[in-house]
């Protein structure tokens, strides 16, 4: 059986697909810190510089999901689901003008998921 670190809900997928048509290639980057921190940000791919300091967690509806490696150290035992809620977020995330906000739902990874992912990621 295959496992992953990150998934996305149908509601969120719908908005991601809409925004892909509008903005072309996009990425998710998990934010931290003040205000709208701890929320995932959907950004135009060419806008945001990704390098070895970022961890690639997987793809959700064709969009790569990244997090900075030091933040990942505190998050790696949890499984993430990108969901959608109504609300007026402040940030540069592309869904903001729609009055929608991506939100992360988390749960603990199970033993079998952890051993699968550890093997896969080496």
């Amino acid at each position: 059986m295959e496992f992953n670190r990150v998934e996305i809900t149908e509601e969120a997928t719908e908005i991601v697909e809409k925004l892909k048509q509008q903005h072309g290639e996009v990425i998710f980057h998990q934010s931290g810190g003040c205000c709208d921190g701890s929320s995932p940000m959907l950004l135009p791919k060419e806008d945001f510089y990704i390098d070895d300091n970022d961890i690639f967690l997987g793809e959700v509806s064709g969009v790569p999901f990244y997090m900075s490696h030091d933040q990942f150290e505190y998050w790696k035992h949890t499984h993430l689901t990108v969901d959608l809620t109504n609300g007026r977020g402040a940030s540069f995330s592309l869904e903001i003008p729609l009055g929608k906000r991506f939100i992360i739902r988390s749960r603990l990874l199970k033993e079998e998921e952890i051993s699968y992912l550890n093997k896969k990621e080496g």
């Binding site: 980057h29 998990q30 934010s31 931290g32 810190g33 003040c34 205000c35 709208d36 921190g37 701890s38 929320s39 940000m41 950004l43 806008d47 945001f48 510089y49 900075s68 030091d70 933040q71 505190y74 998050w75 949890t78 809620t85 109504n86 609300g87 007026r88 977020g89 402040a90 940030s91 540069f92 995330s93 592309l94 903001i96 003008p97 009055g99 906000r101 939100i103 992360i104 739902r105 988390s106 749960r107 603990l108």
Partner: protein
């Protein structure tokens, strides 16, 4: 005095070049109050063309404004402070309607602190001096500070007027023109301020642009015609803004939040006195402003030998927090600023429980009656766990504190510094040695010692580590908005002798 939701116009404009202007494409967004989710007013959904107009107005105004005397700028800043003070109740009501925070906070903290901030910067520029050094008998070095020109400022929604004052007062005091983008959740007080102080400033010196981050924030932060970008917010947008600024080789300052430890050593329980009472309040300050503070003391560290007795008092004080209509002066904690924040906070409480944190009090949304049932309220929540849990590591930005114990000083310091962030911290003790040594060992820009959540204008504020860089408040802030001009003058009539 009875407080209530103030009257809003149906819609507002951007404030550009001393006038309110409709957005070019005529698009507006609706701003709802988090108190009851009812519409307050519409604000411009600005795009690049609107932003560029504001930047152009600021550029046209910068030479004349940069040459005004400090006396003149100081007088104007004092008048701005007077106007805010004269309208204190209106500002407070607007802020409560817009952000959802309790009126007792806006009346006693947000607005008076904003007033004082303008007065502080009005004062310090009068007393400041440059420097002159005689480098040798024929050479004199003069250091003169010059304004940068046009400053872009993007501010958050947790203290809309106060964060405006923190950024706008020093920028204007140092002779810059400002293009300000308030957060889209809280556009009200910046607009109200522009209405009230517009005639005090020359056109173009202070501009307010409303809109969304990707549509209005991005063209502002990436403009080649601004000379600096100042941002308060989260880390991903912080990095993005730095990237935009790097294309223009523009300086930036970043205030990106924290996960501040609030440390209580066992000596606080030595006596049952006023100081212990203050300590208990200090632990409960996690609920101040519904926890929507970058420096919220959201990790509570208690020495293990006093844990049971101390936490019992903290829980009792937390459970005495009165929630209700934010316009009621008796209400201690109001609404979270928006639905998405409300959802995010609840999702954190869930993952905390799943990770094994014990809910000592709260742990759920708060249901209020009547119109308030549509608002976004959370019970003040205490979660007991350990520092590796995500609720100890991420800024929840809600009334949720994560508590753990420590054995000794070394463990307290280790836990306090085991975080990506370093904005604030609190240290509470009766031990004179700990009073100095523990704050020095904590990697954070502001360590409150036997107090918390005090924000005087004369004390520098800013982060270590991923909490950002640059400082706000204090006169050192002026140099974040200025160039250093060095005039190196020779009084020697003789040539160098090289050519």
């Amino acid at each position: 005095m009875n407080y209530s939701k103030p009257k809003f116009k149906e819609k507002y404009g951007n404030y550009i070049n001393g006038k309110f202007e409709a957005p070019d494409d005529g698009e507006y967004f609706e701003n709802h109050s988090p108190i009851d989710n009812k519409l307050l007013a519409k604000y411009p959904r600005s795009k690049a063309s609107d932003v560029n107009k504001a930047i152009e107005a600021a550029n046209n105004a910068k030479d004349a404004w940069g040459k005004t005397s400090v006396t003149e700028r100081s007088t104007i800043l004092n008048k701005i402070a007077d106007v805010i003070e004269e309208n204190l109740n209106e500002f407070a009501q607007m802020e409560t309607a817009d952000n959802g925070k309790a009126i007792r906070e806006t009346v006693n903290a947000d607005v008076p602190l904003a007033v004082d901030h303008f007065r502080y910067f009005a004062s310090v520029i009068r007393a400041e001096e440059g420097s002159a050094s005689e480098l040798n008998e024929n050479t004199v070095s003069l250091i003169i500070r010059e304004p940068l020109g046009v400053v872009a400022q993007i501010i958050p929604w947790n203290f809309p007027l106060l964060m405006l004052a923190w950024k706008v007062a020093p920028a204007l005091a140092s002779g810059n023109c400002v293009v300000l983008k308030p957060a889209e959740q809280t556009p009200a007080s910046a607009t109200f301020l522009a209405e009230k102080i517009g005639d005090l400033l020359p056109p173009g010196v202070f501009n307010v642009i409303h809109g969304f981050g990707p549509e209005a924030g991005k063209p502002l932060a990436s403009s080649g015609k601004v000379d600096k970008v100042a941002f308060t917010g989260e880390t991903t947008t912080g990095q993005l803004i730095m990237q935009y600024a790097s294309k223009n080789l523009n300086p930036v300052t970043m205030e990106l939040g924290g996960k501040s430890p609030n440390i209580f050593f066992n000596s606080v329980m030595d006596h049952d006195d006023d100081f212990l009472d203050k300590c208990i309040e200090g632990a409960v300050l996690f609920a101040f402003n519904q926890g929507e503070v970058c420096t919220a003391p959201s990790r509570l560290l208690i020495q293990e030998d006093i844990y049971d007795a101390f936490i019992e008092k903290v829980i009792a004080r937390t459970e005495a927090i009165k929630m209700g209509d934010p316009f009621d002066m008796e209400t201690m904690m109001g609404a979270q600023a928006s639905n998405d924040q409300h959802e995010k906070i609840l999702s954190y409480i869930e993952i905390g429980k799943e990770e094994g944190a014990e809910v000592l009090t709260g742990g759920a949304a708060k249901k209020l009656d009547g119109d308030l049932s549509k608002g976004f309220y959370i019970q003040p929540t205490i979660l007991k766990g350990h520092n590796k849990m995500r609720v100890f590591q991420e800024e929840i930005f809600g009334p949720v504190v994560a508590v753990c114990t420590f054995k000794d000083e070394a463990e307290a310091i280790e836990i306090a510094n085991d975080t990506l962030y370093g904005l604030g911290a609190g240290v509470w003790t009766r031990d004179a040695h700990q009073l100095y040594q523990i704050p020095r060992a904590i990697k954070a820009g502001r360590v409150w010692v036997n107090c918390y959540h005090d924000y005087p204008a004369h004390a520098p504020f800013g982060g270590y580590k991923k909490s950002g860089f640059g400082r706000e408040n204090h006169l050192m802030m002026l140099n974040h908005y200025r160039q250093t001009k060095n005039m190196l003058i020779s009084y020697d009539k003789k040539k160098l002798g090289f050519f």
